[in-house]
């Protein structure tokens, strides 16, 4: 700390009347945040109300945004505002957390893997055409491997010794329909990230708000919210989704929204029980003694202190959502318009004896993605708890 020549400000110097009179201006950050959400709202309004129906959202570029895309944009915006910006602002804290986090090598590798999946999944589908059915191109083996020559209709690579060798034209090979598996896997990355992130964000937002409010306000608010949770938990979400599939056909959007809006009950209960304990702590009373509002107490004290349970729950939630989407797609209940990992796995299940790569390659991606989320969650939980290992100062 530099030596101050100026005497520094002390608590006695604060002129509270002066502070009371200054109308509290919104900070630049607040303005930017509100601006970003306003921009989003305007875009949504334009897409659904103002522009001619059936036209592309951004005509000159030929970009057409669907409901799911808007939801994904909102999710990414919220992650940016709620996670990335605070991490950047509190650099010291972030570095401390990072120090803790990187102790777990597997988690660092997992984070890099997830980052790559996210990037490729976000960028790839913008430039790649959806894989198309091309029977003449069926059963091409992945590069560096080979398949019996009779399997592919027309081997794209070298034929040597009765075997068809894979080529770089189809690095992961093709399915029985001749769809390129690499392209399908890249599309599947986006689907998995969308399912995991959007549904998880909807879930934890509602769960955190409901759980913390129930615990903080208590009384009839608590009773009403928790009884509603009881009812919601008994509600058969899976059958609701099945019904929607039969009525309107499978869609990723409805799957995400249904699981996001109806799956938060359990986490809300965890949050509530945790927040109930925290509410009795003296620091909550100390905040009240400082004149803090209920919102302040919930936002600054209760939420951060239940974040452990929330992060634990989310790290279990995201992979289970991704797995759930894959299972539904495997059963043919998914969105037929988007290629997802589960769908590709399903399409190759009868070909396993001959064309092992069709199911195996997306399966490996699914497996590692779920594993990576679990590793990251584990390390995050350890890193975010200041009591875990902080005595190294």
């Amino acid at each position: 700390m530099a030596v101050d020549n100026e005497p520094r400000e002390t608590f006695e110097d604060v002129d509270w009347d002066d502070i009371d009179e200054t109308t509290r201006a919104f900070s630049r950050k607040t303005i930017v945040t509100i601006g970003a959400y306003m921009l989003f709202a305007v875009g949504l309004l334009y897409d659904y109300v103002l522009k001619p129906p059936r036209a592309d959202t951004i005509e000159p570029l030929g970009i057409s945004l669907q409901a799911l895309d808007w939801l994904y944009i909102l999710t990414l915006l919220t992650i940016l505002v709620g996670v990335v910006v605070p991490l950047y602002e509190n650099g010291r804290m972030t570095r401390y957390y990072w120090q803790q986090f990187r102790k777990n090598r597997a988690a660092v590798a997992s984070l890099i893997y997830l980052g790559v999946i996210f990037l490729i999944g976000s960028i790839g589908p913008r430039f790649l055409e959806q894989p198309t059915v091309d029977p003449s191109n069926a059963y091409q083996p992945p590069v560096f491997t080979s398949a019996p020559n009779w399997l592919p209709v027309e081997c794209a690579g070298e034929v040597a010794g009765g075997s068809c060798h894979g080529t770089w034209a189809h690095p992961f090979g093709t399915t029985h329909e001749g769809k390129d598996i690499l392209v399908s896997v890249i599309y599947g990355m986006e689907v998995s990230m969308q399912v995991g992130l959007i549904a998880a964000l909807i879930t934890i937002t509602i769960a955190a708000i409901v759980g913390v409010s129930a615990a903080y306000f208590g009384g009839w608010i608590d009773a009403a919210l928790m009884r509603y949770v009881d009812i919601q938990i008994t509600f058969p979400t899976f059958f609701l989704y099945l019904m929607i599939v039969y009525l309107y056909g499978g869609s990723l959007f409805s799957m995400i929204v249904i699981f996001g809006l109806l799956g938060w009950g359990g986490i809300a209960r965890i949050v509530r029980s945790e927040a109930l304990q925290r509410r009795e702590e003296e620091y909550v009373l100390a905040a009240k003694n400082a004149g803090a509002s209920g919102y302040w107490t919930m936002r600054r004290h209760l939420l951060p202190n239940v974040s452990n349970s929330v992060i634990t729950a989310v790290t279990l939630l995201i992979p289970s959502l991704i797995l759930f989407e894959a299972s539904l797609a495997f059963l043919g209940l998914g969105d037929p318009t988007v290629p997802s990992w589960g769908e590709v796995i399903a399409s190759g299940r009868s070909d396993l004896p001959n064309a092992w790569w069709v199911s195996t390659i997306p399966g490996i991606f699914l497996f590692f993605t779920i594993l990576a989320f679990n590793f990251v969650g584990d390390a995050l939980r350890d890193a975010l708890d200041p009591r875990a290992d902080g005595g190294d100062k």
Binding site: F11, W16, I19, A290, G291, P386, R387, K393
Partner: protein
């Protein structure tokens, strides 16, 4: 059945400050009148009220600028509730609290928020009074941020200054609560309270969670800060030594009421209320030959949901007023009243007494074989009542009552004792009145100008 309070002597106890009891000319900073906090006991869906816990039941006191007032009492007597409800951390049920002339119980939210700057609180448990996810600096700056000082760099400067004033380093701002010791955290607690530049600090058991060696450091820091900033302090403690060390005036609380209020020197050297005397007698002394003054409080602390009638202390008071027509030794009278109270509660089990007699005899007799005389003798032993009272008329009443009790008619025994051995303490409520010693106390003995008991004499000669 003894006292539930720990009355430790802190080290380095300074002599009681001799604040003159002269009439004050200035107005009190804080003036509490009839402060009441009842917690309703509710049942069922409609939250029907079935009773109330009278945690604080009408207390009055003043705190003058720059003064330290102590509230002392056993655990559960309502002293902490009094503190939190007088600054509306909990809404008081009744009463007025004037701070600097304004009734804060009438404040709306905005006024209350502004008022928070003027009175700050220090909490008992240094472990729980800091958010584990906030650094020390953020915790100290929290009141500043809440009250609208939105400039983070100004907050950091103020925090650095505050940390140094309470004996920590400015660099400690980045540390987390779990990295500090209990004493350091209590210093941080003081810094957090000071950040608002308050006129008054309420310290709820500020040192009771700390090592004895740290206690006096924190108390010394509090007095230092008090002198520097002209703070008023309301100190709440069960520890008489702490109160004695720093308080100018003391209020003694029992079951939600103040029973004695005066300057520390008056209360500690010449206690007027039997409860205060019992508290003082329980302080251990460093003299090994001193076996204490023999004042022991019998009975449990009554529940505040169902406080005793009359004087609330009468169920445990060693100086209970005797009935007019009888002459007891004071300690015997207390024992007889203990028996009476147990009878009223229906907790005297004559069969168990008989069984006790049989067990000790090691013979084949059944409890039914135990004679009435033996049972009565045993009952007297249980309550430490002599086998024969000095006053023959009292003896005959007690004997008749025991006969009725042993013969299986406790209602008659209860009735007999209630009419014969009635004390004004169970029917009349004393009020806080000025005493000849200078302080105020609420005791019927003082109101009726009864002569002091032997017990009182013992404490006074101390």
């Amino acid at each position: 059945m003894g006292m539930e309070m720990e009355m430790e002597m802190g080290i380095g106890v300074s002599p009681v400050s001799d604040q003159p009891a002269a009439a004050r000319t200035e107005a009190p900073l804080l003036s509490v009148r009839n402060l009441t906090k009842h917690y309703p006991i509710t049942t069922g869906l409609r939250s029907k009220e079935v009773g109330r816990v009278r945690a604080v039941d009408g207390i009055d006191f003043d705190v003058y600028p720059g003064e330290t007032v102590g509230i002392v009492g056993e655990s559960g007597c309502g002293k902490s509730t009094a503190a939190s409800s007088l600054i509306r951390l909990e809404e008081p049920t009744e009463g007025t609290v004037r701070f600097d002339g304004e009734d804060i119980t009438q404040y709306d939210q905005a006024e209350l928020k502004a008022f928070r700057r003027r009175v700050q609180m220090i909490f008992q448990d240094p472990e729980s009074s800091f958010d584990p996810r906030m650094s020390i600096g953020e915790a100290i700056a929290e009141p500043l941020a809440v009250q609208g000082l939105s400039d983070a760099s100004r907050r950091r400067e103020i925090v650095a200054d505050l940390l140094e004033r309470v004996g920590l380093a400015a660099g400690d701002a980045d540390r987390y609560p779990h990295e500090l010791s209990g004493g350091q955290k209590q210093r941080v607690g003081l810094a957090r309270a000071l950040s608002m530049n308050p006129d008054m600090i309420i310290a709820d058991e500020p040192v009771s969670a700390l090592d004895v060696s740290i206690q006096s450091e924190i108390l010394a820091l509090m007095t230092d800060l008090q002198e520097t900033f002209g703070l008023s302090i309301l100190l709440i403690s069960h520890n008489l030594a702490v109160i004695r060390q720093i308080c100018d005036r003391v209020a003694v609380m029992y079951l939600g009421e103040i029973v004695e209020l005066g300057t520390a020197s008056e209360v500690f050297t010449n206690p007027q209320h039997p409860y205060t005397r019992a508290l003082l007698a329980s302080i251990p002394t460093a003299d090994p030959t001193d076996r204490g003054m023999g004042i022991e409080l019998t009975g449990d602390v009554p529940s505040p949901s169902n406080p005793p009638t009359g004087c609330r202390f009468h169920t445990r008071c060693p100086e209970l007023i005797q009935p007019e027509n009888y002459e007891f030794e004071q300690s015997t009278w207390r024992r007889v009243m203990d028996l009476r109270q147990k009878l009223d509660q229906g907790t005297v089990d004559v069969d168990a007494i008989r069984e006790g007699v049989v067990t000790e005899r090691e013979s084949d007799e059944t409890p039914d074989d135990v004679s009435a005389t033996e049972t009565k003798a045993r009952l007297r032993d249980e309550f430490a009542i002599p086998q024969s009272l000095d006053d023959s008329r009292a003896e005959s009443v007690l004997d008749a009552a025991l006969d009725e009790l042993v013969s299986g008619n406790p209602a008659a025994a209860r009735e007999r004792l209630a009419t014969e051995f009635a004390t004004p303490c169970e029917s009349q409520s004393p009020t806080l009145e000025d005493t000849t010693a200078g302080q105020t106390a609420s005791c019927l003995r003082l109101e009726n100008e009864l002569p002091p008991t032997e017990l009182e004499q013992t404490v006074r000669s101390d």
